[in-house]
């Protein structure tokens, strides 16, 4: 009977040790999950903000009639697009629309008139606004 006591103590110690490891791993997992969620939310907020900024600029660009304003908005747009492309753009449909728009914008800035599709510049811009709005609404809510 006397020899059974240290074995029980050893078993208890082992149980406590296993429970401690389990509890610690649970805590670490929870911390990691919380951090990733927070990062995801920040990333999403950044993405939405980038899309809204570009949306607004595209709207200004396609509606302006003043050549100087067009040049200024284009500079801001190119900068915003570069920032968005390096940080947040994930959606290939939007990236493609944006790229296409930059080509149309380049035509407009160089005074090029499309003989068979004169409204393409405006249409491409409107398409970006629609695509961005659809993408923002498709993002899952928190």
């Amino acid at each position: 009977m006397k020899s059974a006591k240290p074995i029980t103590t050893k078993k208890n110690f082992l149980k406590i040790f296993i429970c401690l490891i389990a509890a610690l791993s649970l805590i670490f997992t929870l911390i990691a999950w919380f951090n990733s969620r927070q990062n995801g939310n920040e990333f999403k907020a950044k993405e939405i903000s980038a899309y809204k900024k570009l949306d607004l600029l595209v709207a200004k660009i396609i509606t302006t009639t003043d050549p100087d304003s067009l040049v200024n908005y284009t500079k801001i747009f190119n900068r915003a697009l570069f920032e968005a492309q390096t940080s947040s753009f994930q959606d290939s449909v939007i990236s493609l629309s944006m790229r296409r728009f930059t080509f149309e914008l380049n035509d407009k800035l160089h005074g090029i008139v499309n003989l068979l599709d004169s409204g393409r510049f405006e249409r491409t811009g409107q398409s970006i606004i629609r695509t961005c709005a659809a993408h923002i609404s498709s993002l899952p809510a928190n």
């Binding site: 493609l96 790229r99 003989l115 068979l116 599709d117 249409r123």
Partner: protein, 139 residues
């Protein structure tokens, strides 16, 4: 029953109108490209990747209504005949030039000069360069 039939007729009519509009739209490209019969276009300038371009500056492309295009190289005096086909994709007119591939085709006006522009496909990746070929009427 009459209501269903009339709905179907209207639906078919709308489809017909859509196709008709597309064909009409392409007809304008045909007319400008071949000027009704044949038209020569000389490569005036290339933007971006001029070193990698499939067409060389000064090259002349003679587009015929018979869906043939004769490519003249002024430097080597070579002549090559390939077929061309026009189509539409997502509101953009595309031209297929056989082995030379597909290009977006546009007719532009800049400083009162008429240009035909062939542009290879625009892709979402910003590092994928797009080459634009600007042709002017040769005769």
């Amino acid at each position: 029953m009459v209501k269903i039939i009339s709905t179907r007729i209207v639906f078919c009519f709308l489809i017909f109108l859509t196709y008709n509009a597309k064909a009409q739209d392409l007809n304008k490209y045909f007319k400008l490209l071949t000027c009704g019969l044949k038209q020569a276009w000389k490569l005036d300038s290339v933007t971006l990747n001029s070193n990698y371009g499939i067409f060389k500056r000064g090259e002349v492309l003679l587009f015929k209504l018979s869906n043939e295009v004769v490519v003249f190289d002024n430097d080597t005096h070579n002549k090559q005949t390939i077929t061309w086909l026009l189509g539409k994709k997502d509101n953009y007119a595309l031209i297929n030039l056989g082995d030379a591939g597909y290009y977006e085709i546009d007719f532009l006006l800049r400083n009162k000069v008429e240009y035909m522009r062939l542009r290879n496909e625009i892709r979402p990746q910003k590092n994928m360069d797009v080459t634009e070929y600007y042709f002017v009427k040769s005769n």
